[in-house]
């Protein structure tokens, strides 16, 4: 594992990463839809902060672009889109239907985080990039937790937020490994993700109007007549 040449920025980045992971856990576990949306916004802001820190340390202008695009797309545009397309009633839902109860899903999340560290360690032994030791395992953990959110939640909006959290995790890990990813790739993603959110939001609205609920678990019992 490389000793980082930027001790202060590495410490701040690690702190950002720890809080990033906490918000990912929050997206898995919170009851309210609105709270998980707010946690997602917070997570995106932390991602942007980490990108800025890495940008300062590595002198990479691309990472500042990533930070700017993240704030614009995920902290402003997506919440606005989701609030516009979905009625306030969905956000008022307090008890979100879920497959596992909260303590067991939290424990499984802890296992997933450990798994992320286990998987990341051989990769880290192979690459020699500063900050990869911080960002890669935490980003992987966020990917796993986002996927786990999709698996464990049964409501459409939290599942969508899980998908977006996976995307955040990819960026968090990627910022350290490929700091000089061309801006065009970032732009494509930044344009793509709000569209995904918009489509999913509209679809959820249709489901809600038809069925009076956004609980996707019940769609499994639909049959062709």
């Amino acid at each position: 594992m490389t000793v980082s040449p930027f001790p202060v920025i590495a410490a701040l980045d690690a702190l950002t990463g720890a809080l990033f992971l906490l918000t990912a856990l929050g997206v898995v576990a919170t009851r309210q839809v609105l709270a998980s949306l707010q946690l997602f916004v917070l997570q995106s802001l932390l991602l942007a902060l980490s990108a800025i820190l890495l940008g300062i340390a590595l002198g990479s202008i691309h990472l500042f672009a990533v930070a700017g695009l993240t704030i614009a797309a995920k902290a402003v545009l997506i919440p606005w889109l989701l609030r516009r397309t979905l009625s306030a009633e969905i956000y008022r839902t307090r008890e979100i239907e879920r497959v596992l109860n909260i303590p067991s899903s939290l424990l499984l999340s802890a296992v997933l985080i450990i798994l992320a560290y286990v998987i990341a360690s051989p990769i880290l032994a192979a690459v020699d990039v500063p900050f990869a030791a911080i960002n890669l395992p935490l980003g992987l953990a966020a990917i796993f937790l986002g996927a786990f959110t999709i698996a464990v939640r049964r409501e459409a909006v939290p599942q969508l937020l899980g998908l977006l959290a996976v995307e955040n995790g990819v960026f968090f890990a990627g910022a350290a490994i490929v700091p000089n990813l061309p801006v065009i790739a970032e732009l494509v993603v930044a344009a793509d993700v709000p569209v995904v959110a918009l489509v999913a939001g509209l679809l959820t609205r249709r489901i809600y109007r038809r069925l009076g609920t956004t609980s996707v678990g019940r769609l499994a019992s639909l049959r062709e007549l």
């Binding site: 001790p7 410490a11 690690a14 720890a18 303590p103 939290l106 424990l107």
Partner: protein, 317 residues
């Protein structure tokens, strides 16, 4: 050497004397936040004084456990105050007797006796509170273990005097992710262990909803005074461990400053405790009490946070 014994006793005196004040400040601040005036901050002292002058009534079904419990509960935090850094940065005379685990065991002994005493009189509310406290207790236990494991692993020691310097030398290590996460997890533990609001309502008067407070309902007179005082001291000791060992070991008397330094440390420590109390009152006033079976979620979250702290530490980031 005699100086160190004197400082040690002074430390115990500070805990014994100022613990009810902290309780009073907490309840006063809460009332102020609710736009009320609230009782005087010295009200807990008056309560204890009044209770000490009242007759004590013991149920004829109660055994020696019921009589002994207040004294054990009172002695446990006093004993722990000998071990932990309350005022000084260097170990005092009696500090060799136990490390952080030892202190934890002694505090647990007080809690254990209180629980037994609650079951002893066969008052229906006592055993209910006792079993609920045990439920919270065994959910909090893994968090305690992981927090202590991580802290001692980082410092290479379980002695609180060595641990406290580890997080601030150099100052950048204060912001280590494992440190921040441990602080969050331990704060959640204090809330659970002392029956503060997301877990239990300390000022609630409704027996069926009580967790911690219903255990001492049967006590009267001197027993009640000791139980109340012991609860306040346990809270004070927990705050001292949290602040002086885990969060901000500043403001404690260094070894070379002598008596003046120790005396000067008293207002500084009280100031730190006051700032902590402000945070606590904010938390308590902005959250609602959790339903009983949601406490598992609260402590489960604390456990996962402490485990994440441990992982981030073990992988050396």
């Amino acid at each position: 050497m005699f100086e160190r014994i004197a400082y040690n006793l002074l430390q115990v005196f500070v805990v014994v004397a100022f613990a009810p004040l902290v309780e009073g400040v907490v309840s006063r601040l809460k009332e102020i936040l609710q736009s009320k005036r609230g009782p005087s901050i010295f009200q807990p002292y008056r309560d204890i004084w009044k209770l000490l002058h009242k007759d004590e009534i013991v149920s004829e079904h109660g055994s020696w456990v019921f009589r002994a419990a207040p004294y054990v509960a009172f002695a446990a935090p006093v004993f722990v105050a000998l071990l932990i850094p309350v005022l000084t940065r260097y170990p005092l005379f009696f500090a060799f007797m136990g490390d952080m685990l030892g202190g934890g065991f002694v505090l647990a002994l007080g809690g254990f006796m209180t629980t037994l005493a609650a079951v002893d009189t066969a008052n229906p509310y006592g055993p209910m509170g006792a079993s609920r406290t045990r439920m919270v207790g065994f959910l909090a236990e893994p968090v305690f273990i992981v927090v202590f494991l991580t802290v001692s692993f980082v410092a290479g020691s379980t002695i609180p005097y060595i641990v406290q310097t580890r997080w601030v030398t150099p100052i950048a290590s204060f912001f280590e992710p494992s440190h921040v996460l441990l602080m969050i997890a331990f704060l959640m533990l204090i809330l659970a262990e002392d029956g503060r609001i997301p877990v239990d309502s300390p000022s609630g008067q409704f027996e069926l909803a009580m967790i911690d407070r219903s255990k001492s309902l049967e006590y009267s007179g001197r027993g009640a005074a000791l139980m109340k005082w012991a609860g306040a001291m346990k809270f004070f000791v927990l705050i001292c461990i949290f602040l002086n060992v885990l969060v901000v070991p500043w403001g404690l008397a260094p070894e070379e400053s002598g008596t003046i330094g120790v005396l000067l440390a008293i207002p500084l420590v009280l100031l730190k405790v006051f700032i902590f109390v402000l945070v606590l009152v904010y938390i308590e006033s902005s959250l609602a009490k959790l339903r009983l079976f949601r406490i598992t979620e609260f402590l489960g979250a604390a456990f996962v946070i402490s485990v994440v702290a441990m992982i981030t530490r073990l992988s050396e980031i």
